[in-house]
């Protein structure tokens, strides 16, 4: 097995293509992707419908806040944002792993995606728990 330089650079040795499941998280990723998909499929359409209702003028700001500023509204929105960001992370990861073959690009790229999604999550949480107050 060639371990030096080009192999390592292109990720075919170091990242485990020559080995069985070195990351040990394949099944976990697969399952979490589907679990979060179910949560997002249940919670995102209502959020999008609220957005469209505001767009159409069916809800003004007070009516919108009345609908979402209880503990249940905030809690559901928090669940949605956690599931959505986890789902987005795993989805982008699958795409990046398929198309970005250079490990020296892929690893920092996925790092940036993860840090970016976390930052959005924190901001999003703060908006969710502050609205209507």
């Amino acid at each position: 097995m060639q371990l030096c330089c080009w192999g390592a650079f292109y990720g075919d040795d170091v990242l485990g293509i020559n080995r069985f499941g070195t990351a040990h998280n394949g099944l976990g990723d697969w399952y979490v992707q589907r679990l979060t998909a179910v949560v997002v499929a249940l919670l995102l359409p209502p959020a999008f419908l609220l957005l469209l209702s505001v767009y159409a003028g069916w809800l003004d700001q007070m009516q919108l806040l009345d609908l979402v500023d209880g503990y249940i509204g905030r809690m559901l929105h928090t669940l949605l944002l956690i599931a959505l960001l986890a789902h987005a992370h795993l989805g982008v990861k699958v795409i990046v792993e398929d198309y970005v073959h250079v490990a020296a690009l892929r690893i920092p790229l996925m790092g940036a995606v993860m840090v970016g999604l976390t930052a959005f999550g924190i901001w999003w949480l703060s908006v969710t728990w502050a609205w209507g107050t």
Binding site: Q2, N18, A41, Q61, A130
Partner: protein
């Protein structure tokens, strides 16, 4: 850790997509990725909207104006279509994982349903927004 034996380094790899004739399930799959990517890119826009809509009443009306101007409309339209398609096809993928519709014909039929749902969403949402 067991290593897989690889006698030959330069053998052809499997995903040479360009050699396959285009099929509807392939289109459904690549569109799922594209729409997922579009939805991930909508996250910052959603936060921008959410911050404004739940902020002061001036910010609320500014967001309403932003949504009604054509870039806002276009973004809402693209996102809504991507969301509806990604959800329909995502349900299809979960059903496939559960072992349903795996035969070639039903793969094609369900791919047709997903894509049809996306087109329908595009028309309906377009009618709603314009």
């Amino acid at each position: 850790m067991p290593a897989i034996k690889r006698p030959q380094k330069d053998r052809p790899l499997s995903p040479h997509l360009s050699i396959y004739r285009w099929q509807l399930p392939m289109l459904a799959s690549i569109t799922h990725r594209a729409s997922g990517m579009a939805l991930a890119l909508f996250v910052p826009v959603y936060l921008f909207l959410l911050t404004g809509l739940t902020g002061s009443s001036e910010e609320f009306s500014r967001m309403l104006d932003w949504m009604h101007a054509w870039p806002g409309r276009l973004i809402l339209w693209l996102t809504g279509v991507a969301l509806f398609y990604h959800m329909t096809n995502g349900i299809r993928f979960i059903l496939l994982d559960a072992g349903w519709f795996e035969a070639r014909d039903s793969m094609r039929l369900t791919a047709r349903v997903s894509i049809g749902a996306g087109v329908l969403a595009a028309v309906l949402l377009g009618g709603f927004l314009w």
